[in-house]
Amino acid sequence: MSWLLPDSYSTFGPDVDFLYYAILVVTGVVFVITEALLVYFVIRYRRRDGQKATYIHGSTKAEIIWTAVPFIAVLGLAFISIPSWNMMKNPDSVPADALDYIVNAKQFEWEITYAGADGVTGTADDISTINIMHVPVNQAVNITLRSEDVLHSFFLPEMRVKQDAVPGMDITVWFEATRAGAYPIGCAELCGNLHTTMGGTLNVYEAADFEAWVASQSADADDADDADDQEDQ
């Protein structure tokens, strides 16, 4: 039972993890102090017969202190969160050289489309996979997240990415993985009966391996197109 985050492998990782631990420390200190005081007071001021409690109604000074201190603390936490939040979610923060992807969610699959050699989605050389996403390491990827039916939530725990997919909306999600490997993809929004099966795998490759994967896919890209046509029927 651990309060430590699992390792992160994206450029968002340090920001999110720093904020998490910062809040953990702040709340941890408050937690220990308040709970310790509670226990201490209960023991120290336990019932003594024939004695009265001290008749105190309050203290304006104390009220001001414990209004102002938490106020400053939480506002501080809010303000240090803003830059990271903007970096993660603001569409303007997506690096210009990011690779374009489309992730289309539906009950209960992630359909992932990679733009292919021409770098534009929606063209003939697109590569589509189901539930398995292939990305290069140290390269930003720019995902247009869509949904066909209900809400889903695209969750990459190690990348510290989570974004709901909303039918009728194109939502921009981006991240940059920093280590090659295979990582889970999850659905974090209840999306129907078999919501639980809507998992997948994120394969992060070294640049060369990614090229090889693209090449292997482009070889049978025609077949993939046929398959798409048939699905449409």
Binding site: G58, M88, G199
Partner: protein, 586 residues
């Protein structure tokens, strides 16, 4: 005319079933919501079975129909559809039919007239109607388990479009019953809220100024205002969703250009005030009990009132923090993050004031006091874990994970439910004339406290490891498989937690007949309900009470005892009271 005598002439059905007496209605709400609390708890146990032992045959599952539990040669295995219904109905029943009626229906009805010195609510028949809408609404909600397609399965938040069309879930009638039931419950809540607000504004006894009201009444007053303003928003949203479901409109269906996010905005615009509806009365009850247990005035009474008002006000501008990852504009996310952080301040003020209240007290650790202290210690955890998700970047990671489940249960179970236990035990004499058993009360408290933490504390941890909420089978995800022993451990502890509640149930039932007779004021408390017999007669007060002071004058140096009833004339006026007690004017 003598109301008191009149009550005894009334036929049985008017006295116990269709009663207009606020105390009887409070007991009706109590029995109803305890029933739903049990139901909600059992639903949670079935969920826990599935989470601890995914797709293993559930004991007793054979008793349930095939649409819920699939019969296999090995035994009955829970279906994902049913699991989703359990998730939905556990949340819905606990929030709308257990915690909310317990806090608002029971304590609102019982305490408001008694604590302000009124003979009853402003609109007693409306009050009766409120219960008789809420109860059938609950039965309708339960009945939805029996209809074709099963009960609603889109979560208690019923996010559209999953909830807006049966084609996504296979649940048609169940979802519609869910919507209708909550709409009826909404009417019941509104009837209650109008009643409470009118009663508190208009029917306070002479001398009961605003700042002489006990904090329980203050909290219920502010809660009633939140209900009054929030429930109609929910009703509007529910009706639109019902139209989408039944007549084919497309408010929330993107296929016809409806807006799924509109549902979320409406729901949480209601939903966040609702969250405080579920905690403010608990805070009020805790304040009353803590002062009584510590034999000391509440520390910073005015600050406590202001904090309640501030929470209520801020609760209207923080709803977006439920929607950080929903696709809402990130700039709005920043705004909501700041308002959300700010709402932590009044909660912190309350915690520090509670600590100030027991500081230098003379603490009597009776059962209600234990539960009140339990509330404070658990609310600290629930409040602090809320700071994590207020920070938007951290929320990206922990949103919709078990961290949220842990957080909300620390607030609703560790918070509200402990306060409810405190409140029921504390005011039990005013309902049934007797005290609950003290020894068994303490045993129950300690077992509950320990087991409760064993159940919910590890949920923070598995949430931090990325365990999503509302998933039917965690082992479907390879990265969650190492967490399965923790899930099993939580499940076992949860069973034990529910089992020890039998102690409370037995204590509650047996004490009705066998409990120690309470007398007027068993806890040596100050507020007006303790000046009348337990249980108070129909009409409550023989003479309209006159209030001389605030409700928390414990250990005042002016009197010998360590408590000072609100209607006790001050020593200087005992000879010639400025105000003559008046007979009740009816």
């Amino acid at each position: 005319m003598d109301a008191h005598a009149h009550a005894h002439e009334m036929p049985w059905i008017r006295r116990y079933i269709f009663s207009t007496d606020h105390k009887t209605i409070a007991i009706q709400f109590l029995l109803m919501s305890l029933f739903f609390l049990v139901v909600g708890g059992l639903l949670a146990m079935m969920m826990r079975w599935q989470l601890g032992f995914p797709s293993e045959p559930m004991p007793g599952g054979m008793l349930l129909p095939d649409e819920m539990m699939a019969p296999t040669p090995a035994g009955a295995i829970m279906l994902p559809e049913f699991y989703n219904s359990l998730v939905t109905m556990h949340g819905t029943i606990m929030i709308f039919f257990a915690i909310m009626p317990l806090l608002v229906g029971v304590f609102g009805n019982l305490l408001i007239p008694l604590q302000i010195g009124a003979d009853d609510m402003a609109f007693p028949r409306l009050n009766m109607a409120s219960f008789w809408m809420a109860f059938p609404a609950g039965l309708l909600m339960l009945a939805s388990f029996a209809v074709e397609g099963g009960a609603a399965g889109a979560g208690w938040t019923s996010y559209a479009p999953l909830s807006a069309s049966g084609e996504y879930t296979g649940v048609y009638l169940g979802q519609q019953l869910w919507l209708i039931s909550l709409t009826i419950l909404g009417f019941a809540s509104l009837a209650g809220a109008v009643n409470y607000i009118t009663t508190i504004i208009n029917m306070r006894a002479p001398g009961m100024t605003w700042f002489r009201m006990p904090l329980a009444t203050w909290a219920l007053f502010i809660t009633a205002i939140l209900i009054l303003l929030a429930i109609p928003i929910l009703a509007g949203a529910l009706i639109m969703l019902l139209f989408d479901q039944t007549i084919g409109t497309a408010f929330f269906l993107p296929a016809s250009d409806g807006e799924p996010l509109l549902w979320q905005h409406l729901f949480w615009f209601f939903g966040h005030p609702e969250v405080y509806i579920l905690i403010l009365p608990a805070m009020g009850i805790t304040s009353d009990v803590l002062a009584n247990g510590a034999r000391k005035p509440v520390f910073g009474y005015h600050a406590m009132v202001l904090a309640i008002v501030a929470i209520a006000f801020l609760s209207w501008i923080v709803w977006g923090h439920h929607m950080f990852q929903s696709g809402m504009n990130p700039m709005l996310g920043t705004t909501f993050m700041i308002t959300t952080m700010v709402i932590a301040v009044p909660s912190a003020i309350k915690v520090f004031n509670w600590l100030g209240t027991i500081y230098k007290g003379n603490i009597h650790l009776h059962t209600p006091m234990l539960h009140a202290l339990g509330f404070v210690s658990m609310f600290i955890i629930g409040g602090l874990s809320g700071v994590f998700m207020a920070s938007t970047p951290v929320d990206v990671y922990i949103h919709d994970t078990y961290f949220i489940v842990a957080h909300l249960h620390y607030v609703l179970f560790g918070g509200s439910l402990f306060a409810i236990f405190a409140g029921i035990t504390f005011w039990y004499p005013k309902m049934f004339g007797r005290l609950m058993n003290e020894k068994w009360g303490r045993i129950h408290f300690w077992l509950t406290m320990i087991l409760y933490n064993i159940v919910f504390w590890p949920m923070h941890s598995i949430g931090i490891q990325g365990h999503m909420r509302r998933i039917y089978d965690p082992t479907q995800y390879e990265f969650l498989q190492p967490l399965q022993p923790i899930n099993q451990f939580i499940t076992m502890a949860a069973f034990a937690l529910v089992a020890v509640q039998v102690i409370y149930a037995l204590n509650f039932i047996i004490s009705i007949w066998k409990g120690k007779k309470a007398g007027n004021n068993p806890w040596k408390a100050n507020s007006l309900e303790w000046t009348v017999p337990s249980p108070p007669p129909h009409g409550n007060f023989e003479l309209v009470p006159i209030v001389y002071r605030g409700p928390y004058e414990y250990s005042a140096p002016d009197v010998e005892e360590d408590y000072w009833l609100q209607d006790a004339p001050p020593p200087s006026e005992t000879a010639a009271p400025a105000l003559e007690p008046q007979p009740v004017a009816d």
